[in-house]
Amino acid sequence: MTISEKKENSENRVIMYREALNEAIMEEMKNDDTVFVMGEGVAERGGSYKVTAGLLDEFGKKRVIDTPISEASFTGAGVGAAITGMRPIVEILFIDFTVLIMDQIVNQAAKYKFMTGGKGRVPIVVRTQGGSGNGLAAQHSQSLEAWFYHIPGLKVVMPSTPYDAKGLLKSAIRDDDPVMFIEHKLLYMKKGEVPESEYFIELGRGEIKRKGKDITIISWSNMIPRSLSAAERLAEEGIDVEVIDPRTLVPLDRKLIMDSVKKTRNAVIVQEAVRRGGVASDIASIIQEEAFESLDAPVAIVAGKNTPIPFNLRLEKASIPQEKDIILAVKKTLNFKIG
């Protein structure tokens, strides 16, 4: 049984990932008049995945704004509003569409604090969702976190559970820097324990999702539930896997990762995004730099194939890491022998 399942079975309240996100926005909008929401279909429709449902009734049209399909300019407007004292939450329907907002995020939002000598701040949250798994094909299924991870000045958050989603979004909204908040389309309906009382999760604090002693899996977003179920299968064979979820890629909880790797002496990094130029490669390089002497085997990466996501469901599945791929990588790592 995984930790998140345990939470579901407890007596505490269990809600969906999208409901947890909705609560975070509701609470922060009630708490602070400068918080507002804009995006395509976020008001009347309540968002494609219902994350912004009910906000229009509660806060009205001034603070819950439907936009035309003008991603670059309404994101830029969010940046400008943030510079002038507001805390906007801008929703980009699919992470695939964030390529349309790159100038505003990369050249404007990420650089502003720097270019004002620290006097100007951009407390904007760009909420978006990525990932594959339900036949949306090449332009609606990508995992593009590495694009933002690469840019100094941006924070990158990728929650895997309802609990994390709420606590991290509340912190992201209160953060004074631009935050890319990347959700996963397959997680919206997933349930988990979320307390009724207010809480925050500090950006940069990862979590051990499953304790283990033989090998460390580092993963995030929808690869967490997949890694956890792989860990359960491996446990049946006597392999005790520790699963680490950094939860935020920037800032990255290096200490949590290093402590775990130094303990288990083995590491596998699982990401849905394509292998080439990915965050997993960077984390692997950090581990080998900082914990080389602790490693019993090379750090393994299980990642998406270097291909666009196919529409055909069978081929889509073959393009991104599955449970069996994770299991194989863990066994291969543990069986590694020098020479």
Binding site: A72, G76, G80, A81, Q108
Partner: protein, 318 residues
């Protein structure tokens, strides 16, 4: 404010920009400014006229050719010179340079290295005003070059549907770097593009500071009374190439001569005498005062230290 004071302030800004830019060109030729920068020479009346009409709590959005906007908005020329000379005393510790000067204190959201990149930021300033329900306004300075970027069209539409208090101040200097407007647009009257978005628009003589001031004031009244955005196309011409190192040989002599004869600083000088009541001697003394102030600022900047690597990596970069 008396006419005398009004025209004194106007001319102070016009002449300060002129002398500031000429000093920067000299400093560049001496190798003291690195990279390159984009002089505002010939366009001074637009920034000065528009900013004179603003309240102190309004916002402006500037461009890569941004020295003039910053000065007209009341920016600190010592900090500006220190910035373009890459010194710690600059607006941004010398980390931004000419194209990245922002001044939070004067509501100057900032210059921008990306042509058109600032337009949506101005929409955002307008949106935050609209949500807060204050009577502030925004002037977005941008160019004919930026008007061919997609965000211009998007932003014009957003300002229109959200009824934002935003003035689109289109500085039509007839060139996008070296490409003349007639090659980049089928009509040279760019203000006409606003009509399709339901936005009030007009074209004016951008070299006449009085015209710019009066039209901006009128547009601001429209904005502040909740009747939405306004586009003002200010026709002007650069008095040189795209940047300090571009001789601008592609600019036809007769057109340059025509705009030189309508020099915005000389026009402002005439207003100072005819409407501000200054005598020729008073103007000359005033000009010497401004020149001395800039000379002093140049010396200050030249003698200022650079930011150390240690301070940069340990204190500034987070």
């Amino acid at each position: 404010m008396s006419f005398r004071e009004f025209w004194r302030d106007i001319y102070k800004n016009l002449y300060t920009i002129r002398v500031f830019e000429k000093n920067c060109i000299r400093l560049y030729r001496q190798g003291l400014i690195v990279g390159y920068f984009h002089p505002y020479l010939g366009e001074e009346a637009i920034a000065v006229g528009a900013c004179a009409a603003l309240r102190s709590d309004d916002y402006i959005v500037s461009t890569h050719r941004g020295h003039g906007h910053c000065i007209a908005r009341g920016g600190d020329i010592r900090k500006m010179l220190a910035e373009v000379l890459a010194k710690e005393a600059g607006y941004c510790y010398g980390l931004g340079g000419s194209m990245h000067i922002a001044d939070v204190a004067t509501g100057n959201i900032g210059a921008n290295g990306i042509v058109g990149g600032g337009i949506p930021l101005g929409i955002g300033a307008g949106l935050s005003i609209s949500i807060r329900g204050t009577e502030q306004a925004v002037v977005i300075f941008f160019s004919d070059g930026a008007s061919n970027n997609g965000v211009f069209a998007e932003s014009l539409n957003l300002a229109a549907i959200w009824n934002l208090p935003v003035i689109f101040m289109l500085e039509n200097n007839h060139y996008a770097v070296s490409t003349p407007i007639e090659e980049a647009s089928r009509t040279e009257d760019l203000y006409k593009r606003a009509e399709g978005y339901g936005v009030f628009a007009t074209a004016i003589d951008g070299n006449d500071v009085k015209v710019v001031y009066e039209k901006t004031k009128e547009a601001l009244e429209v904005c502040r009374s909740g009747r939405g955005p306004f586009l003002v196309e200010a026709k002007t011409y650069r008095q040189g190439g795209h940047h300090v190192n571009d001789p601008g040989k592609y600019m036809p002599r007769e057109k340059l001569d025509y705009y030189m004869s309508k020099d915005p600083v000389q026009t402002g000088r005439k207003y100072l005498i005819n409407e501000g009541g200054f005598s020729e001697d008073e103007v000359k003394r005033f000009e010497t005062e401004i020149e001395n102030e800039i000379k002093e600022a140049v010396e200050f900047a030249k003698n200022s230290p650079e930011l150390s690597e240690e301070k940069y990596f340990n204190e500034i970069v987070i």
